[in-house]
Symmetry: C2
Subunit: 230 residues, 2 copies
DNA sequence: AATAAATTGTGTTTTTAAACATTAATTTCA
DNA sequence: TGAAATTAATGTTTAAAAACACAATTTATT
């Protein structure tokens, strides 16, 4: 079996990992895999979903284009996890775009095969429901913080979000994801200038340390405080 | 059968309407109904869901409290439709509160009975998935517009949203929902003063007409233009 | 009906963050 | 390697919306 597909199916983080060998076989025989270089687009707003995309390795940002082309990152995907599954299950075209922020591999599972599997596997279906429901909660919370918190609060929250999503290096401090200042800004609903400015304020205050795109979270308690204060 | 329950189950807008008579019976025998006066709270952020709440009659706003108690309306519910189902299916406590904005009646279906029904009814389960996925798309889009559009754009969008949700009176223009200026503001991510001010600008421009809490959308084309422009 | 309470309306001030402008530092790649 | 392109950094100006203050009106309550 393709290594990338095997990872999407068997990895402990995959909802497919508890399937029977037979079910896994059906999936692996009805999927196609692809590689994306850093910066490449996986799908664009308006495209029609062709199947269920699973991120096998790498990191992907999901973003929407808003007023005047300004982008807002609505989700950061990590392996193993689905991307673009919302549109597939809503029966809609994509309302956001997906771009690899580092070299990534994905597998696309056939839609009909998947739905057939769901029909006979209740717990798999419930785990889809659970994911959608959790993500909806996250999105609602995000709406409120992005609209109500001030710049410092929004940035602090984003940094903590990145930590909880991608984790940290062995030193326990360095974020395991390297974003451009522009991406940090697009995640936090601010201009690039303001992201740069506020990051360097945090750095001067000793809450974080900056080294190019490497960000160390030195004082997560303080970041939490800044985030909660708004 | 209780009139309120019957409506939740049989109404053509209900996902339960296509169930078998037997399934409908099981549901109706395992539900309890309640009435809420305008202004009463149905559940609060942090509460634990006890079952699936269905709005039988009336109108309900779902909102989150943000920085400094400032509230953001994340959804407006209409009959027949579920409220609080996100938390139930995510297996979480409520992350938002629900308040009747006019006299309302609801039915609460037993959680275990419901899950049992889902297990044996794939199309019902898929309609839940579809709802969650659609609402997630709506929420993501909302995040972008609330953060990126300017006040006029946000208000115009909210007015159009209210029209698409609750419709209009026989005159084809008057919104079929009466919100306080504060609620309009909390829906549109702005202060009450700004909601009042911007509504009266729209009124002066002839795009809408105001009569107390009654709002007539006189020029929806223009509202669309204002909304799209940001 | 009288009073209190809540909501609506409007002007003014202040704050925040966007927009703009420019320079410096990195990357990219021809 | 060196020029071009991209990204990062920082100061200044401008615009948007919040905060504040207060008056007017409407709604609820006794």
């Amino acid at each position: 079996m393709d290594k990338r597909a095997a990872n999407c199916i068997d990895n402990e983080r995959s909802v497919f990992s508890t399937l029977t060998a037979e079910e896994k076989n059906i999936l692996s025989e009805n999927c196609s895999c692809a590689n994306y270089k850093k910066g490449e687009i996986i799908y664009k707003e308006g495209d029609k979903p062709t199947g269920l995309i699973c991120l096998s390795t790498g990191k992907v940002k999901i973003y929407k284009e808003g007023v005047g082309g300004r982008e807002q990152i609505v989700r950061m995907a990590k392996p193993v996890g689905f991307i673009g599954y919302r549109a597939l299950f809503a029966g809609e075209n994509y309302i956001a775009s997906a771009q690899a922020i580092e070299d990534s591999t994905v597998c696309i599972f056939d839609k009909e095969i998947l739905f057939g599997l769901l029909k006979s596997n209740f717990s798999l279906t419930m785990s889809i429901i659970q994911s959608l429901a959790s993500e909806l909660g996250f999105s609602n919370s995000r709406t409120v913080t992005l609209t109500q918190k001030h710049i410092r609060g929004r940035l602090a929250e984003s940094l903590l979000f990145l930590k909880s999503t991608y984790g940290v290096e062995e030193d326990g401090e360095t974020l395991k994801v390297y974003l451009s200042r522009e991406d940090v800004a697009n995640l936090s609903n601010m201009t690039t200038s303001n992201a740069i400015r506020t990051l360097s304020s945090f750095s001067q205050e000793g809450v974080i340390a900056l080294n190019g795109r490497k960000i160390k979270l030195l004082d997560t308690k303080m970041l939490n405080k800044i985030s909660e204060l708004g």
